[in-house]
């Protein structure tokens, strides 16, 4: 495989995006272009990228060394040379494969979902640009080029979240995503600049960085590590920069699927994995990352328990799952983290697309407590959602089980018992709130009969494909215990994996514990919501209605207090503190600007006086300087 085609993995969706955009402009201002043309172009580009990705995969599998393609020098500043370079190693091709594959599925799905929308062409133009930016981020050969993709992803998410801009709320959500991401980007940029300052002279692609990163003093390295991680926090929605993600649900559902499953949020995880050589030198920062991940996982799971909007629940679950990934990469188990990225991509895309199908069928109803009993009406969606929910809840043999269990196992074996405990508890909570969603949506009694809208095949087909993935993708990382071989670990053999010091017996026990935790969550959820009565006014009154002793205990011990905590966190901490701090910072800045703006008083004499003061201070400076 010629490494020249690496660039085309990025260029194909990029060119397609430009084509779509100009065709869209043409179609609204001059002559209408049929949607089928847009569909064809939009779906073709991720397909081509995927095929190219597969070819590179085969090449690498056959023992080819890393592909590097550096077409030209992008910038050249006294000794610093930055070339526009693409790197196709095992990590990036791995990312490319699932980004393009999931992206392709979501594209197909979106052709059904967005049918009849006025901005059909515009949507796919942004969509392809999103894929292109993400692929650039992944395939870049140096952090600077990666940063272009990084910014591009931010821009596209802004455009897509605010896609239905006629609703002011959506615009606010888009702005919020953008602003919060900029905060993260600032961190990322600061990290890059420090890195550039210390090792930039020696070359700034990953190869050179890996070689020379050890010359950076350790305390600086710590700063760099944290600053880069701040960037990851922004993109991957970790505490405290997660606030944009739930609001980002304002965009069309395929956008949510794309952001949450394959692209944007995994950028942070990818970045940490890409800079593994750096984080290996600063294990303390890694531990910090792992703890942030653990707390994000718990925090988001607690919030998710109280949500009623189907997409919001999924959004919080994404934050929670990302937390798991950061636990793994923080502790230095990069391939484990990426394994979870991989399985998560399947089941989360599936969940979102299933939710989208439900939403479409119910004429854009998103509150799960206005759904109910959809099992008969939407059998296909029911089946795939069940698979996805089981997968995210960590029930074997579905994919989520393997990856999540491996993370917990590694945390345990690494003697991070607190993280392990949090992870385990979160796993139970995950099972609980996901099945709450599931039961309320598809079961229940006394629900209102809905007038259903039919779902087209272009929505159904990707659901089926992804359902297979969500069910069986986990077998790619079958642990040794089952006599399997971890293909993901084997593929990403670039890291000298830390050896596990755990007996098989312990591993079995841990596995059983986590399965039990998951089942416990499902059980509680089952008891509470399986026969959920939709005539109840609000869901808290369901607490009164229950007949089961165990349910009451559970309620008393955990749910009630957790619900309070959940309300507290979502209202006081989330909206009240974090949201307000971020927003009031910007408002404060604007207000300060207004005060300073008073200096523009349109008084000539005052202006002249300012000038005179300037002149006077210059003179004073000179008097002092010249003695």
């Amino acid at each position: 495989m010629n490494s020249f085609f690496l660039a085309w993995i990025v260029l194909v969706p990029f060119i397609s995006s430009i084509l779509l955009g100009s065709m869209y402009l043409y179609s609204i201002s001059v002559k209408k272009i049929p949607n089928s043309v847009f569909t064809f172009l939009a779906v073709l580009s991720p397909l081509i990228s995927f095929i190219l990705g597969v070819l590179f995969f085969i090449g690498l599998e056959n023992g080819a060394s890393d592909y590097i393609y550096e077409p030209y020098t992008w910038l050249q500043v006294n000794g610093y040379i930055i070339s526009m370079g693409f790197l196709g190693d095992r990590l990036s091709i791995f990312m490319v494969l699932f980004i393009t594959f999931i992206g392709l599925m979501i594209h197909i799905y979106a052709t059904g979902y967005m049918k009849g929308d006025e901005g059909y062409g515009k949507f796919f133009s942004y969509f392809n640009l999103f894929i292109a930016s993400m692929l650039l981020l992944v395939l870049a050969n140096s952090p600077i080029i990666m940063f272009i993709g990084w910014e591009g992803v931010g821009l596209c998410s802004y455009l897509l979240i605010g896609f239905y801009f006629t609703e002011p709320l959506n615009v606010v959500a888009g702005n919020k995503a953008f602003i919060v991401n900029r905060v993260g980007d600032l961190g990322f940029l600061i990290g890059l600049i420090f890195l550039f300052f210390y090792v930039g002279k020696l070359g700034f692609d990953y190869g050179a960085l890996e070689e020379y990163v050890s010359i950076v003093p350790n305390h600086i390295l710590t700063i760099i590590g944290i600053a880069l991680f701040v960037g990851a926090m922004g993109k991957s929605a970790q505490i405290p920069l997660y606030v944009w993600l739930p609001d980002a649900m304002a965009g069309p559902t395929p956008v949510s699927a794309l952001i949450h499953a394959a692209t944007m949020v995994t950028a942070g995880v990818y970045m940490v994995a890409r800079f593994h050589f750096l984080y290996d030198l600063i294990p303390n920062v890694g531990l910090f990352i792992a703890y942030i991940g653990a707390f994000s996982a718990l925090f988001a799971a607690v919030i998710a328990m109280k949500q009623t909007d189907i997409k919001k629940i999924l959004a919080y679950s994404t934050i929670s799952q990302l937390g798991y990934m950061f636990i793994a990469v923080g502790l230095g188990f990069y391939s484990t983290g990426l394994f979870h990225v991989f399985t998560h991509a399947f089941f989360k895309a599936l969940l979102f697309m299933g939710a989208g199908a439900v939403i479409i069928a119910l004429h854009h109803e998103q509150n799960i407590f206005k759904m109910g009993g959809l099992r008969k009406k939407l059998p296909l969606v029911y089946t795939v959602m069940l698979i996805a929910t089981l997968s995210i809840s960590g029930i074997p043999p579905f994919s989520g089980f393997f990856s999540k269990d491996e993370i917990l196992l590694k945390a345990y074996s690494h003697h991070e018992y607190l993280i392990y405990a949090i992870g385990l508890f979160t796993a139970a909570l995950t099972a609980y709130y996901m099945f709450r969603l599931f039961f309320v949506t598809f079961y229940g009694k006394n629900y209102k009969e809905h007038h259903m809208q039919s779902i087209s095949w272009s929505i159904k087909a990707p659901l089926v494909v992804l359902a297979f993935g969500a069910a069986f993708a986990g077998f790619m990382g079958l642990p040794d215990v089952f006599g399997g071989e971890n293909l993901i670990d084997g593929w990403l053999n670039m890291w000298s994996g830390k050896a596990l010091h755990v007996e098989y017996s312990v591993e079995y026990i841990l596995m059983a514990i986590s399965v039990i935790a998951g089942l416990l969550g499902i059980l509680v959820s089952f008891l509470k919501f399986y026969r959920y009565d939709f005539n109840q006014k609000i869901q808290e009154s369901g607490v009164v209605y229950n007949k089961f002793y165990i349910d009451e205990i559970y309620n008393f011990l955990f749910v009630r207090s957790l619900q309070k905590l959940s309300v507290f966190i979502s209202v006081v901490v989330d909206d009240g503190i974090i949201d307000k701090t971020v927003m009031s910072l910007s408002n404060g800045f604007i207000n300060l600007g207004r005060i300073i703006g008073r200096m523009q008083c349109a008084n000539t004499r005052a202006y002249a006086f300012f000038m005179l003061v300037g002149l006077s201070s210059f003179s004073l400076y000179l008097i002092l300087k010249l003695g």
Binding site: R594, G597, C601, R605, A608
Partner: protein, 106 residues
């Protein structure tokens, strides 16, 4: 008795220059502001002519003469703008002209 040395001319020019700045900033009358600017130019000319004598070279005087020409060209613009302004607002108070003030609203 003060000797009419080089420095006394410079000192005089400096004082005149400062008086010009003082007039420019503390007066509101457009005409006086304009004359203050002219006074500053005169002070600089005085310095130039003094330097011309000090160096025994004509350069200073030539520059001073050209400064007078520049002052004349600025005077033309100044006075025609003053006429335009007076026609519009019937005022020679410079503080009355504040339509470009920054509005504090968002």
């Amino acid at each position: 008795m003060i000797e009419a040395s080089f420095m006394s001319y410079i000192a005089l020019a400096l004082v005149l220059f400062s008086l010009g700045i003082i007039g420019l900033i503390s007066r509101k009358n457009i005409f006086i502001i304009y004359m203050s600017l002219e006074l500053m130019l005169n002070a600089i000319n005085l310095m130039l002519v003094t330097l011309s004598k000090y160096f025994g070279s004509m350069d200073g005087q030539i520059i001073a003469m050209m400064v007078i020409a520049i002052a004349a060209s600025e005077a033309v613009i100044f006075l025609s703008l003053i006429v335009a302004m007076y026609r519009l607002k019937k005022s020679v108070n410079i503080d009355d002209f504040d339509t470009l003030k920054q509005k504090g609203t968002l």
